[in-house]
């Protein structure tokens, strides 16, 4: 009986931790830049890449200027 309760508690704890981690990872949006070219191709630079590190501050400046 005690073993069953422990197994149930372990399962419930795992379920809770999994749900929490999933929600946290899906809830956190990553900043990114999507670029579309004339030939129909598209490339996406996510936050952390050298390209995004260079251009995301420019986008943030643009947003700040628009909301001034």
């Amino acid at each position: 009986m005690r073993r069953k309760l422990l197994a149930l508690a372990g399962f419930a704890t795992g379920l809770f931790a999994g749900t929490f981690l999933y929600r946290r990872s899906s809830g956190r949006r990553r900043d990114r830049i999507d670029v579309y070219f004339a030939d129909g191709s598209m490339v996406s630079f996510v936050d952390g890449s050298p390209e995004a590190e260079r251009l995301l501050p420019v986008a943030r400046r643009a947003l700040a200027a628009a909301r001034r």
Partner: protein
């Protein structure tokens, strides 16, 4: 349609767009929804930097036609078409496809020649038929 009319239509159609500025390839502002001219120019400079910066990532001939920079504070959209560009800002998580569509419509509208008033042709005087 002129630039200011195109921008007025844009902000009326799209509730997602907070600010938009139309400019040419040289960076000259053609129209803006912002009251602050300096802010509009800053937005254009940033858009130019984004276009130039992203253009460097491609070795081929294909130019950048549009881009979206998405941040937690909001998104910046830039669309380029036939020598004219538009930059717009939105709140976070916009409907990307819809915003691009509205911006392209605005660019097309701004490029259209204003309609000239049509001159009415005078009716030709009726020639009286000879009585037989």
């Amino acid at each position: 349609m002129d630039a200011s009319q195109a921008l007025a239509d844009l902000t009326e159609i799209s509730s997602q767009i907070e600010a938009a500025v139309l400019f040419d390839e040289g960076g000259a502002v053609l129209g803006s929804t912002l009251d602050d001219a300096a802010a509009g120019e800053e937005l254009v400079r940033s858009a130019g930097s984004l276009l130039a910066g992203t253009g460097e990532f491609r070795s081929g001939d294909a130019a950048v036609t549009q881009l979206e920079a998405s941040t937690r504070d909001g998104s910046v959209f830039v669309v380029r078409d036939e020598g004219r560009c538009i930059v717009a800002t939105t709140a976070p998580d916009p409907t990307v496809g819809l915003v691009f569509y509205d911006l392209k419509s605005c660019l097309r509208g701004a490029a259209e020649e204003p309609e000239k008033p049509k001159r009415r042709r005078r009716a030709a005087p009726k020639s009286e038929e000879p009585a037989e």
